[in-house]
Amino acid sequence: MTDNHPVTRRAVLGTLGALGVAAAGGGFVAGAPGKAHAQALGQNESVQDAMKRLFGDKPIKDGAAIIKLDLPLIAENGAVVPISVSVDSPMTATSYVKHIYVVADKNRIPIVTRVTLAPEAGRAFMGANIRLGETGDVRAIVEQSDGTLLQVKREVKVTVGGCGG
């Protein structure tokens, strides 16, 4: 990998205008960017409530055949836990992964992120560093362009130090 000339600009925010406020099934509204919104993605709630809010009663199938979830089995600390999700998908205009959700069951804010992809992404892939409050399951939920939902999950043990930290 090569470094590329980062342009570090701290722009004063003007009006951002409509930046794709998307309404997903289940009544979720992406908060207006730039301001915490009452309907923000992240809420203090149980994972059951979060899943209900995101997906309602829609069936979620087992996605083990097509979803590759990369997570450490033991996280050295809960502050920075690397995750990546890769989905086997043609990513064509008619068949692509529309969303990848990451949910941490034991977090006070269980919804970590929702990634929205266009076919131009080329591959259904995301990576991020997440926070985990404690040992628990982490899920990757995939929504395909035809609305199908699939999920894989795995437990991550969060290490507690012996040395006061």
Binding site: M1, T2, D3, N4, H5, P6, V7, T8, R9, R10, A11, L13, L16, L19, G20, A30, G31, P33, G34, K35, A36, A40, L41, G42, N44, A79, V80, V81, P82, S84, A104, N107, R108, I109, P110, I111, V112, T113, R114, V115, T116, L117, A118, E120, A121, G122, R123, F125, M126, G127, A128, N129, I130, R131
Partner: protein, 110 residues
Amino acid sequence: MSDIGKVRLRIPSSIRPGDVVQVRSLVIHPMERIERDAQGKIVQKNYNYINKVIVTYLGKTVATFDTTQSVAENPFFSFTFKATDPGQLKVQFLDTTGGRYEGTVEIKFS
């Protein structure tokens, strides 16, 4: 923290037309966490965290991340795009206080 918003993007050193390119990004940001008072009640305030990441290539959005306080401080994000033509890849990070930070990189073929 005057370093808030410092961004770095990394792409492979050699890209050919048609490659699906993986991009790594890091942005300096506190991603403030919920605070609780001595009684355990959540402190009501506008927490400063990145809640949206927008990736555009040749002016078209290829990926967005809607993010919460469960994303790590100084967040790392990785994503892909299909490199069809030379041009600009831009990543914008927006936070809940109105901050907008961005990094760009010119995609060239070699």
